[in-house]
Symmetry: C2
Amino acid sequence: MFMDNSACKRVDKNQIEKLTIPPPETITRMSAIFQALQSSARLNILFLLKDRDMCVCELSEALEASQSAISHNLRVLRQLDLVRVRKEGRFAVYYIADEHVRLLIEMCRQHIIEEYR
Amino acid sequence: MFMDNSACKRVDKNQIEKLTIPPPETITRMSAIFQALQSSARLNILFLLKDRDMCVCELSEALEASQSAISHNLRVLRQLDLVRVRKEGRFAVYYIADEHVRLLIEMCRQHIIEEYR
DNA sequence: CATATATATGAAGGATTGATCATATGTTCA
DNA sequence: TGAACATATGATCAATCCTTCATATATATG
């Protein structure tokens, strides 16, 4: 019943010391990106932007969400460089930052699709 | 100052109706997967498993985390089929579920790496 | 069989998150 | 210039998440 925190029998200390994980900064950054992608609202935004650059009010219309909510969510995505903005007059037109973002999302969808076969 | 929720001038109702996003089930599922990947602890686990199948106590050792925490985190990953288990005697040996999971993580890391160039 | 080892899991509590509300900033146009 | 339009953002609060603690289950071994 009592459990100290000594190594289990399967552990090979030497081998374990050889294992490398990315530096904390990388893990933190990845964590933040996945954290951003974890929201349904933000995923929907990304799926729309995947097909066409859109301004805030278009996204707001298309997703039937408040301007404020969309704007807050776009900021999260923007701060992680998942989307970018350009100004067109009074409109802020958002678009997917790069190919990695598309692939990231596509890879996740693939994983799900394959589950149901 | 006053804002009703009517369409902005950039919106083309016809075009917006043509836009398609994945069904809610897919979005929910993707959301859950990204939610699982959003934890530093779980990302570290996945990076270790990427190189070698490992049991709970090995992971616990390698990451200097409690058995309970590791176990809880593995359950989250398992329930989303991001990792799988096989029993080896009294050990539960965990491994990455499939290639998509590897690519998903790799794609995210790539995105970060490219930012710093 | 009894004990040590390995893992799983429910409950609880503090920390974190996200939508909403209110308001500020910036742009266009009459 | 002033009014309407488009977007951004701070504050707040309910909901959610993650770790720890306590304990249960399952296997191995003497």
